[in-house]
Symmetry: C2
Subunit: 464 residues, 2 copies
């Protein structure tokens, strides 16, 4: 079978070298190549020439060295849950699949940190931690790998309280473009000892090196968790509630906005009966008395913004069911159209600009020729629109492009960013200049210095 | 007068160019040069050849361009409160004094951020913010400039709750080594749009560019603040209290340890009568009920570790007096010896290693031939020793070197860093390889790429 996929075109000497390292864990099958050339986005597959299922840092080093000798691209792959085409082999090359590197290397409850291999997923780590009363807080919805989450600077529903991967990664082990291995920092919570290489590699999307070890902060599971679902007559009133809550310093652990379409999709996908209206999902973490006090303060703000009937719950099972529905939003939206693909895009703006940015964007979306739903980590000023479209239909793709571009340029105009947590991949490279101006030149200089051959996930982040 | 200071040796054509830009704000006087060539450390002055008192980003650009044309070093200077020789002109050159760039450019209460020129000090910004109910949280003791604090990745007493400059800086305006100007990011709270240039420049100590604009996060002044002073029979029992409090998730806003010598110095300097014993200074921020609840939890832990009589206070004036004493520790220690200089050095370790690291270091210090005092931001695993020595006495300097080296290598062995918040300057370059291994090469590559002429604060951070 071929299905129009170009044949693998690796140099046979390179193939020979890689086989010597990996044996049967090197694959050039079309099925493997197609599977590893696409993420969960609408972007068409860009299959690599080969898939290297690595099991150790040393194997990653050997693969990178071999690829460097042949000037062949190296693309790291975790769970394939990215959504801006990060894993597409736009210039061919070797996909380094780290999903087999899935060992939790160390958990240090006394230091509140853990070190894992890059293929460990967030659910796997949390299952591992549960008996210790600790948890890993970054929570992007998908059960992504920690290596991938570090590489895309992922965040999610807990970021407003616990931070994103930027704050959560303590240090990284990275295989560089020449095959050498470094650790980007110590395990101290803070340091002034030289350049912050940890933060440089977090969010670098595999363009500066392959992450093979991740040390992350952990948190104690809070004594009490109080969750709520709170519908509003309009998106504007929901957003006004969030802004007031943030500005008066309420320690929200999670605060998520879903519009009516998103609620509709979630209800259908998860068999729920939430009122179809703009809705905030929220959670307070703390002591028993603390969460009660926070809830009272929140209710007052919400009622002042015409909130409907709020449903509060301390029950673990009930809360988890609701959050699972929230987390399945990508798949729920996807299910709205048989054969469609999800076009999911996000921006992030200063909190004071959120109402304006959302209102203008909402107006834009009213006439979209496809299903469109809003989901926002609104406590951070971050929101997503998901479209379900037919990627073979040029008119739909063009309209999605147009709506995305308007939203992105609006966010940048309001002091925000083209993506809060999805990353650039190849989908958003075109906005880098609008957002960063001459700073793109600095990024290019760094890329050229650390990857002089241009083999690390080429065609991503930086515009041509 | 000359006092053994080498004459300024700038190329006369460069001098002419700089005079054309700055007029009388360019100085080559010995007094100016000596003043700008030393910080608050024991390091001997390393005077620059000239001092450029700049007033705008454009002037910084002009100075950097002129210096680049003459391959002349550029050293940024804020308040001179660094303590690892950061401002010393070890290879001569032009000191760019940004203290005159002291405008608060924008405060955006709705976004909880502010943009300032680099010479704005933390006290100046907080005075500016007070009527808005907001504050800037990073608090290194000295009334440092925000540009300098960003450049050294400063932190201080509030970091355990509010973060260091790493988390607090939203974005920077930077003049690069070629005189061009960039902004390192948007004002969004989070972003996945490309390399994290903000974090790369935070902590770069002027070696990659000159910071000319700083945007920082602000926080709401908490409804209630409850502070306490809590003596212990031993450092070990004080540290055990901190570790238990951190590990059980108590939201400490500040938790500082002073040993008996530090208390003695503070009492003498500020006319206080604190019990001379290892003592924790702490603070809880939150709601009225919240801080009470936290205080109860803390008391239980402290009593379990044999705490002495705790003094609790909600009174603003009383608390401020105590914290001012704590903040004056550098000067209090300094005052212990007429004509001496303070050798202040810090390390930071994972919290679980703090007790061991402190105990071994304390034992080392018992026989120090000079006054030595301990002050720690122990909630972060960060602590400082301050010595007062005669920098002209080689035996004292050698002993301070030996004690520092033992402490630094101990911290690194325990998974920590050679400096939690003081920075590398030229004082700690010798430990970079021990801490970072091959990652020093990556730092060198970045430095060479962004400053190919090597003119930006040369001789700092990276070992020769």
């Amino acid at each position: 079978m071929n299905d129009g996929i170009a044949a693998s075109s690796l140099d046979s000497a390179l193939l020979h070298t890689l086989r010597a390292v990996l044996g049967g864990r090197l694959s050039t099958s079309d099925a493997d190549r197609v599977q590893h050339g696409r993420d969960e986005s609408w972007h068409p597959p860009r299959p690599p020439d080969a898939v290297a299922r690595v099991q150790s840092t040393e194997e990653v080093q050997a693969v990178v060295r071999a690829c460097a000798a042949f000037r062949t691209p190296v693309i790291a792959y975790g769970t394939g849950t990215s959504i801006e085409g990060h894993v597409g082999a736009v210039h061919g090359g070797v996909c380094v699949d780290v999903s087999g590197m899935s060992a939790v290397l160390a958990v240090r409850p006394e230091d509140l940190d853990a070190t894992v291999q890059p293929g460990v997923t967030r659910k796997q780590l949390n299952a591992h931690l549960r008996d210790l009363g600790l948890f890993f807080a970054v929570d992007p919805g998908a059960d992504a790998s920690l290596g991938g989450m570090a590489a895309t600077r992922a965040s999610g529903t807990n970021a407003v309280r616990y931070g994103t991967m930027r704050e959560t990664v303590v240090n990284l082990g990275v295989v560089l473009a020449d095959g050498s291995f470094i650790r980007t920092g110590s395990r101290a919570r803070k340091s002034s000892a030289g350049y912050d290489l940890t933060r440089l590699f977090v969010g670098s999307e595999g363009t500066l090196g392959v992450i093979t070890e991740v040390t992350v902060r952990l948190f104690g599971i809070p004594e009490a968790v109080l969750g709520a679902i709170c519908p509003f007559p309009s998106i504007g009133q929901a957003v006004a509630t969030v802004i007031e809550a943030i500005q008066c310093g309420l320690p929200l652990a999670r605060i998520e906005l879903l519009d009516g379409n998103a609620i509709r999709a979630v209800n259908a996908h998860s068999g729920l009966a939430n009122e179809v209206a703009p809705t905030l999902f929220l959670e307070f973490h703390g002591s028993d008395r603390g969460v009660e006090e926070q809830a009272e303060a929140f209710k007052a703000i919400a009622v002042g913004n015409s909130a409907g009937t709020m449903r509060w719950s301390r029950d673990h099972v009930e809360r988890n069911r609701l959050w699972q529905a929230r987390h399945d939003i990508h798949y729920a939206v996807w299910a709205q159209r048989a054969g469609g693909r999800v076009w999911s895009t996000d921006v992030c703006v200063p909190i004071g600009a959120l109402a304006e940015c959302l209102a203008e964007t909402e107006a834009d979306m009213a006439d979209a020729p496809f299903f469109a739903a809003l989901v926002g980590h609104v406590g951070d000023g971050n929101f997503h629109w998901g479209f379900v479209l037919d990627p073979e239909n040029p008119a739909e793709v063009a309209e999605a492009e147009r709506l995305t571009e308007r939203m992105v340029l609006r966010a940048i105009r309001l002091g925000g960013t083209s993506t809060g947590e999805h990353g650039i991949g190849y989908g958003k490279r075109k906005y880098m200049a609008a957002e960063h101006g001459d700073a793109v030149g600095v990024m290019r200089t760094i890329k050229a210095a650390l990857d002089p051959l241009g083999i690390m996930n080429p065609g991503k982040i930086l515009p041509d």
